[in-house]
């Protein structure tokens, strides 16, 4: 493979990474709000949460992407594929992150809540000082898992003409017919990105462990 072709793949990888990072950032915000709904006192709000999760989790990302890509213009929203793609990915990983956060809250041992309550901590201080940090710790491994998945899931967006790594690879294959070389390199690039994300996750985990959390360094 010549250098310009490789650079083209790298450019596609940049778009993939950017899309994934945008979805991870927005999805995390969305998931935080969603997870709060999951613990609402109002049954109706909790039902809304469950419906959202069932709906998103029970639909293939590919179908969801097509659906939103065609639905947005019908609603007179001309966003173009990139914004639509980022939106789909955000809605999708938002649901997954929300379940990660919900699980982390449920994993907090009851005695931790009781200790915080027995000190008479106001809700905000309790969230900021006790529950929040514990949620981060419990959520981290599955959170990184979803992040890695997000990078790979972004390849689906090529179907709605988002020009990213997979799209670029297919373009080059059509031109050069070097199927295995191009796909092999694309896969390698995906691997490197995911591996990098994983390393970041482990670094954060290790850092938290130094801050008093027990656990094995894997």
């Amino acid at each position: 493979m010549d250098t310009p072709t490789f650079l083209l793949l790298l450019k596609g990888a940049g778009v993939s990474l950017l899309l994934a990072l945008a979805a991870i950032a927005c999805g995390t915000l969305l998931a935080t709000a969603l997870a709060a709904l999951a613990f609402s006192r109002l049954a109706l709000v909790r039902t809304f949460y469950r419906l959202y999760i069932y709906l998103i989790r029970g639909t293939p990302l590919l179908v969801l992407a097509l659906l939103i890509f065609y639905a947005l213009p019908a609603l007179d929203l001309r966003t173009g594929p990139y914004l639509a793609g980022a939106l789909v990915l955000t809605l999708y990983v938002g649901a997954l992150f929300a379940e990660v956060f919900r699980g982390a809250v449920l994993a907090i041992p009851r005695p931790q809540w009781e200790s915080a309550r027995s000190l008479g901590l106001p809700p905000l201080a309790m969230l900021r000082k006790v529950i929040g940090p514990l949620v981060v710790r419990y959520a981290l491994p599955p959170y990184v898992n979803v992040c890695v998945m997000t990078v790979k899931a972004s390849s689906v967006l090529s179907i709605i003409s988002v020009w990213e790594l997979t799209f670029a690879a297919r373009e080059i294959i059509e031109r050069t017919l070097a199927v295995f070389t191009v796909l092999g390199i694309a896969a390698g690039i995906y691997f490197v990105i995911c591996f990098g994300l994983d390393r970041v996750g482990r670094r954060v985990e290790h850092h938290l462990m130094l801050k008093g959390f027990v656990g094995e360094h894997v």
């Binding site: 041992p109 005695p111 931790q112 009781e114 200790s115 915080a116 309550r117 027995s118 000190l119 008479g120 901590l121 106001p122 809700p123 201080a125 000082k129 006790v130 940090p133 514990l134 710790r137 938290l208 801050k211 008093g212 959390f213 027990v214």
Partner: protein, 251 residues
Amino acid sequence: MIEIRGLRKAFGSLAVLRDIDVDIADGEVMALIGRSGCGKTTLLRCINFLEEYDAGEIRLDGQPLWYRPGADSRRRRVPDQEARRMRQQMGIVFQQYNLFPHMTALENVSLGPRFSQKVAAAEAEDLGRSLLARVGLSDKVDAYPAHLSGGQQQRVAIARALAMRPKVLLLDEITSALDPELVGEVEDVIRSLLSEPIMMVLVTHALGFAREVAHRIAYIADGRIAEIGTPAEILEQPSDPTLKDFLRRIR
């Protein structure tokens, strides 16, 4: 003082507390003993409302805690903010220490004063340091719970409870989870508190320790205070047959 009147609590159809009446005087140390499942820990947890109760009244220095009579003769829980203020008058120490794992010993102890009582950061820290010194852990101020022994963690937990300057200290089997050689250091901390004007209610299986520190012992059986009296009365001249049996078994 604490006045408990007609306290009742059931978990579903299982009555755990049936009509508990007891007073704890200022500065008094009261031990609660009884078989496991008799309701002693539930009683302790009702006092600071970690457990809701179905009927009855708890007063602290005359002030009714946790519930208010409602307009329609049904009682209502006090608003959360008020419950928090009430809780700050009590400290509780748990069997499993339950320190916050992501905070140093000092942060654990200063948290309550800093955020519940809105004490200035520097002041809360000073208080934390002096309390940790008091439980003999001056050198462990910056240690995380994971790096402390069980006995040290429990001493931090006691300091954390004391940091709120509570009127009452509730101790729930605080030495039960400890290795035998670590029990003494925790008991020593409790002994050192006996000169303070603080009420203590301790749930315990350590009868020797209860005898030494408690002014009175209440034997709880089947959700009731079956017998109450001085340690000598309860441990040497028990009249309740189930208490006699209990003492025989535990010795």
